[in-house]
């Protein structure tokens, strides 16, 4: 997979600062949180937060080494670009499950929406409990036709399944 794809995913996970950190790791090969902070100007807490997030998606790895003088553990971080493909595969599976769960819910419920605007839709059961008044603003509720929502979900599920089959 191309490097630009890797940074695109990293951007999605942690924004511009995550990309800065990842680029720095790529340049240095192996670096401590302090090294990264000094080189990128991103504050230490943010560096840690982003590194832990990237590690939870296996895009970076760390190893701890005990400092001979202080006895403290020093963490060295490394970028793992070769994990991107397997991350994408597993994410596709996860997201597919979520979309299927959402589709089943949308298919098995009837929805109502506030006439006043963007308060969001609620299921029939909840609408009954609030006497068909919006729980957020008190406005009247009207029936919401979710046919287009079902079509979008079905389209995305189909797209993901087709991709997973041919990749």
């Amino acid at each position: 997979m191309s490097e630009s794809r890797l940074f695109e995913v990293i951007f999605k996970l942690g924004g511009e600062e995550a990309v800065k950190i990842a680029r720095q790791l790529k340049k240095m090969g192996r670096a401590t949180e302090d090294d990264i902070t000094k080189a990128t100007g991103v504050n230490l807490n943010e560096v840690r937060k982003i590194l832990f997030k990237l590690r939870s998606f296996s895009l970076v790895s760390s190893e701890s080494v005990q400092d001979k003088n202080s006895g403290w553990l020093i963490y060295y971080w490394m970028l793992q670009p070769d994990r991107l493909e397997s991350l994408i595969r597993s994410q596709k599976k996860r997201v597919l499950e979520k979309l299927e769960e959402k589709l089943a819910y949308e298919k098995s419920h009837d929805f109502y929406r506030c006439v006043n605007g963007p308060c969001g839709k609620i299921a029939f059961e909840e609408a009954v409990e609030s006497f068909f008044r919006c729980p957020k603003c008190g406005g009247p509720l009207e029936h919401f036709d979710n046919t287009a929502v079902l079509e979008v979900l079905e389209r995305e599920i189909r797209k993901l399944k087709e991709e997973m089959e041919r990749e």
Binding site: M1, R89, K98, E101, A148
Partner: protein
């Protein structure tokens, strides 16, 4: 040839063949690109064929018989995943059956789906 080098080469070859899509790539061109000997390359391509990962098509190229390698599977793409709000959502671990959050009621997913549905109706 060491096992590790062989494995890396195999992975690299498969990746390059996948990137060429349905157009495929000539064996001879591929070996030049990866700086492998034709013996090394042929062995690997035959192994990839046996594993069902590539197809070797015998073709006549500039008066010589050679093989074109075409991947049976396409290169992995990330576009669909990046567009979806669940793609790399930071709340993913807390979302789904048995968790405090659910895709059924997730406001981010709802907004996205409804926006897409609106776009579909407008278009």
């Amino acid at each position: 040839m060491s096992g590790k080098r062989h494995e890396n080469l195999e992975y690299e070859i498969l990746r390059m063949i996948k990137e060429k899509g349905q157009e495929g790539i000539l064996q001879s061109q591929l070996w030049k690109l990866i700086k492998a000997t034709s013996r090394e390359g042929s062995r690997i391509s035959m192994r990839l064929e046996r594993a069902g990962l590539v197809e070797r098509q015998r073709i006549l190229h500039e008066g010589k018989w050679t093989y074109k390698l075409v991947a049976k599977k396409k290169a992995i793409t990330v576009d669909t995943l990046i567009e979806l709000p669940c793609g790399f959502c930071y709340l993913q671990e807390k979302c789904g059956a048995g968790n405090p959050l659910s895709p059924c009621t997730c406001p981010r997913l709802n907004q996205w789906v409804e926006r897409e549905a609106g776009r579909k109706q407008d278009g």
